[in-house]
Symmetry: C2
Subunit: 714 residues, 2 copies
């Protein structure tokens, strides 16, 4: 019983929304709306660049309701974003009341809001009546009346639990949310032929500020993640163009003219380390600085060890994560700045070992799903749809937040219906017209035709996820249905793709015929999904994972899974070498954040190019930060074994290091671990932990008691 109580407390503690009163909305709607602000901020050389998938929006008319039972009368304060009405026990109140007296006893309170531009939200504050996630909300109350005025009693309206975040003050309007800004100076400025190159010392993000602009003429601002990019005015990926005139300044890209004061800060944020500013002869300015913009995050996870290069890798990884953890987990800060499902699932996993910021995970999952009807895969990419399913159960395992899964479940169903509507006669997915079969950016030919083993493996895991989530949502019929579908597909995987001769899963099968190609993707996922027996997993290690003749992975994105598979096979020592070589390689190239893609075989400005453009590559990409995850999960060795760390295991592994120590955040607090070649010290704030200590006879399991540090010699 004691433990049970602890879990409940933990579950409460992890919710950011248990405050007395907070702004509420239709779940997912604020997230989708805010995501539109995010996804529509991309620019390419001064041109607006919105996403190419369907952009959903909020329900514009929403009804909030709450059943009350008051011991004594109270007065409530009411605020809303939108035009609204208030009904007490079915009776409409005059106007849009900002206060209302509630009599004692049982009552029903309904507030209905219309807002086209921003999500309808409300805020109610009283002595006991306060808006929070216990309020119900719907986009169709179906409250018709008959000729006598009697309201319908057969409504089939679906009420959801209200969505909320941390807008707990009456004047903290959700639609006015913005990240935090902080002024920053360049570390150096270097005169060039036609202007000045400013270096901000490391990759950063924000708004350029110009001081004391005088005169009349055009100002060009060219941004670069590298000096080459900033100075290449013809090909840099992002730029701004301003027209200075006496007393005013015009942003020519967005055609916005503002009065000119001492300082002028641009309206559009950019990612850069370098900024090259040129002015027409008639224009002068005093200084170029910036407003750094960020989401305040607590670095709850940590990692230190005897290897300074690895420490630096962790730090740069954490900074990369922080730069890309904004309103949402985005891919990279320079180019897309979009929310991509395949990128996001890795951000979530890293986040569980760094910020443990559940709110940003949930926001990103809602946004990626969008609204029904489903008209394409997530971001149009088949594999990204599957990652989306997987990410939901990952989140549940780390957070224990069953409510979220239950709320989201109907949209999981419709997403899976879309996938099931696109399977072939074998019940497998193949790229149909309009499907982007992505897999990875590979330096070599990847066939996308027919049944890809990689996609089937992800599809199978998605079906298993649906069965688990159906169970959580209490939908037993769905649970059975998805279990059947998953096991039917699972049983087909080996017959379809395992090649005895190659001792590997082949890449794809076209019209029932295995191709000759073997790639790493399906093989590595099969390992950590445990889809193959131990013998075959070990076989893969040699035939694929450690086989240099198999097409190499050159994105940190797929290296994430590749190295995870090797860790799962107990190859921490070789993975440590790989990490140092690969991420250390980027550091040696001068990286101050990790990149979208890195091929150690390339040199110089080759590292900057991608998509056929000389600076197309993003040098700060969330998926570049995977050591954060690998070090937390496979070296510190911490992972939940029951949802929300109710139970967890710690299997620390030095992997060649002399010592390491670090912290892994959990819903209960933290787990702190120190390990050297003789001793393991561990301190946990809660949950039922098992420490796996390596001994000569194999692993030995010890119980971790919460509260005090325990020391284990081994």
């Amino acid at each position: 019983m004691k433990n049970r109580f602890a879990t409940l407390v933990g579950a409460l503690a992890l919710s950011a929304t248990a405050a007395a009163q907070t702004w509420i909305w239709y779940p997912g709607d604020y997230e989708i709306w805010l995501g539109n602000q995010m996804n529509n901020r991309r620019t390419e050389r001064g041109a607006f660049f919105p996403p190419f998938w369907k952009t959903d929006s909020h329900y514009v008319v929403v009804e909030f309701s709450k059943k009350l039972d008051l011991a004594e009368p109270e007065e409530i304060f009411i605020a809303a974003e939108g035009k609204y009405n208030v009904k007490l026990d079915g009776k409409l109140q005059f106007g849009m009341p900002s206060t209302l007296k509630l009599p004692a006893g049982k009552h029903s309170l309904n507030i209905k809001v219309w807002n086209q531009s921003t999500p309808p939200t409300i805020y109610v504050k009283g002595k006991t009546v306060n808006t929070d996630k216990t309020w119900k909300v719907t986009y169709e109350d179906k409250e018709w009346i008959d000729e006598s005025g009697k309201a319908s009693d057969t409504s089939a309206t679906i009420y959801m639990d209200a969505g909320c975040w941390n807008f707990d003050g009456a004047t903290q309007l959700p639609s006015r949310f913005s990240l935090v800004r902080k002024p920053m100076k360049a570390v150096s400025s270097t005169p060039q032929k036609e202007g000045v190159l400013y270096d901000f010392g490391k990759e950063t993000f924000g708004y350029i500020t110009l001081k004391e602009v005088k005169g009349k003429g055009t100002i060009h601002i060219y941004y670069g993640e590298s000096p080459e990019e900033a100075l290449d005015t013809e090909y840099c990926e992002t730029l701004d163009k301003l027209l200075a005139e006496p007393g005013q300044i015009t942003d020519l890209a967005i055609r916005n003219t503002r009065k000119l004061y001492d300082e002028y800060t641009l309206d559009n944020s950019k990612a850069f380390r370098y900024v090259y500013v040129t002015c027409d002869p008639g224009v002068t300015m005093q200084d170029v600085s910036m407003q750094y913009e960020y989401l305040p995050e607590e670095y709850r996870g940590s990692f230190k060890c005897n290897d300074e290069e690895l420490n630096r890798i962790w730090e740069v990884g954490a900074y990369t994560m922080h730069l890309t953890t904004r309103e949402f987990f985005i891919d990279g800060i320079k180019r897309d700045r979009w929310v991509w499902s395949g990128d996001a699932i890795q951000s979530y996993l890293m986040n569980y070992y760094l910020f443990f910021d559940n709110e940003t995970v949930k926001r990103t999952i809602w946004l990626l799903r969008g609204k029904d009807p489903v008209t394409s895969h997530s971001n149009t990419i088949m594999d990204y749809t599957f990652y989306w399913f997987l990410s939901v159960y990952d989140y549940y395992m780390y957070s224990g937040d069953k409510d979220f899964v239950t709320q989201l479940y109907p949209r999981m169903q419709s997403m899976m219906d879309y996938v099931l509507g696109r399977t072939n006669a074998n019940g497998m997915v193949e790229g149909m017209t309009g499907d982007w079969v992505f897999v990875d950016w590979a330096d070599g030919y990847l066939d996308k035709k027919g049944e890809l083993s990689f996609e089937q493996v992800l599809f199978c895991k998605s079906l298993e996820t649906m069965a688990l989530c159906a169970g959580l949502a209490g939908n037993t019929a769905d649970k059975t249905k998805y279990e059947k579908l998953a096991s039917a597909l699972r049983s087909k995987l080996e017959p379809a793709f395992w090649n005895e001769q190659k001792q590997a899963m082949v890449h794809n099968r076209i019209q029932g015929k295995q191709s000759e190609s073997v790639t790493r993707y399906a093989n590595m996922f099969s390992v950590f999904f445990n889809y193959l027996n131990a013998d075959k997993q070990q076989a893969i290690k040699h035939s694929v994972l450690q086989n240099d003749r198999i097409l190499k992975i050159t994105t940190p994105y797929m290296r994430f899974y590749e190295l995870e598979a090797l860790c799962a096979l107990g190859e921490q020592e070789s993975v440590m070498k790989e990490m140092k070589a690969y991420w250390g390689g980027m550091l040696k190239e001068g990286a101050t954040s990790f990149w979208e893609k890195y091929n150690p075989e390339e040199t110089g400005t080759q590292h900057l190019a991608m998509y056929g453009r000389p600076y197309g590559k993003s040098l700060c990409h969330a998926w570049g930060a995977s050591p954060i995850y690998l070090l937390g999960k496979y070296y510190l060795g911490v992972k939940p074994t029951k949802p929300g760390y109710e139970e967890y295991s710690v299997t620390p592994c030095l992997g060649g290091l002399k010592w390491m120590e670090g912290t892994v955040p959990t819903p209960y607090g933290n787990i702190h671990i120190y390990m050297d070649k003789k001793v393991i010290r561990i301190k946990s704030d809660g949950g039922k932990g098992v420490l796996n200590i390596p001994t000569r006879k194999g692993m030995k399991a010890m119980t971790i008691e919460p509260g005090t540090e325990q020391v284990f010699k081994y």
Copy 2:
């Protein structure tokens, strides 16, 4: 060939969008957005009252495109509502250009717009390149690129034809649309105990204007369609409350404060004939007048005859139609002011004999359908869903506008999928939880349980409509599918509902057992749908339609169909008497527009009550105007027999009158008819017409030649 050409010219002429350049949008989106403005203007005693069904919204990111082939270079002007980009041959242009030079030759031009608040729209004007409905538009272009920068070539994007109306000027922003206003004075003012009662002489609609408000205190404005309502400050349906203060005035319902000038016009429109204004002692004003608001419409249809009461019925019907024909065809102007499908289909039909305003029909059809997913019946009402299907084919028959049907067809499919997903084991519809089975406001018990014959008849006609529209959209598979479904249901109607003893269709069937109840609804629809043989139709006339023991119809709504059924059975003389008694009855009660409901057996203020409220009834309701339709279609006797009046018939019938004359609008112009007991004169502007002249031996068909008046003696 000549005739064929004439048809084409006619088809062009009927389009309001063939102008050189016009603002364009995603089809249906502007309509839905404008509809939200309309549907969210309802108030009840100063409280905002939005609809209870799902309110859809526009796609917030939309891409417009056009393939060009230019003989010479030209410069275009570009405007947009929203943040936008411009791509020429795939290359993004800097910023949001307002002009662009297009080189000669073949090019592709793409403009992508994001707008959360109002629909993304664009306007392009050049020498030959101009926005119109030939532009393509999509909400997901799926234009991903691969690692090399190559754009996807397997897009399954669905491109629609752009939507437009009549916003042909660069500064005529669609989001700024408003109806026309005209100042009007009260015809009398009468001091009352606490204020003044103003009479505007007839039912009207608009904004109250107060002149020279002085002092400090509250002003109450009580609206009434009757003097009783305006003077009943406790129960009148609509009111306004203002706070006058020196130099400013606050609308207390919407909490909007404005500077006070000589005149103050309220922000909210209301319907009324009477206005009762009371002021706090400290407040004075000089005058109360109004701004009448209306949609400019040409009265293309007309009707005159020797009977002055009937002429007055036609005029009041036309005025009722004009008051309720606004941004959309709405139900009534006082209370709901919502777009209801059952009301709208009758407005459309009346419109074809009065304004022939296709644009308002199309706007209303788009709005009523909304967006996918379908989560309820149209306005939550089962029967209203079926009327929606029927209205689409009606529109096609009158207008010949096949493009509209083709564009709309995908949403017809998803609407019908919703219906088919709610059928029982017999393939029939029954009210499920959340379905409002309406039928009619009846002064007696209407059972809504089980299979209602009325709903099956409408469902069957809807399936037939789907088959027809599938054919128009070129979807032969669907055509076959819906034909099969329709004929399967059709064959079940008589076995299920015809009662030999009662010589009528019974009202409903519960668990396979016919009820004892017979109502008029299914019987009358079976007549004009021709679902029963001639013997049974005649039987129904006596056993139901002219049988006083069958529950009487007391709404003009169902009288529309009842009288249409009788006309279809050749009962024009008795229908004429009914029209004069029923609509004439309302006139005798002082009606200046026709009512939502009229029971001749009621007296005095009983006529004002409905929904359990003393003034709940709407005294200006579109469905009250049905004589407009009946006189045009069954007395002047004009109807299209091929889409868009390519062919039509005229079967004039005096129905007891001495003479009549009138005009019926068509896509070709007008058809003018005069008839007395000896002669028929007819003049038509186009189309292939057949005049059916009554002779002793029955009807004699004569060809109507367009252009000159023809005179037929009979």
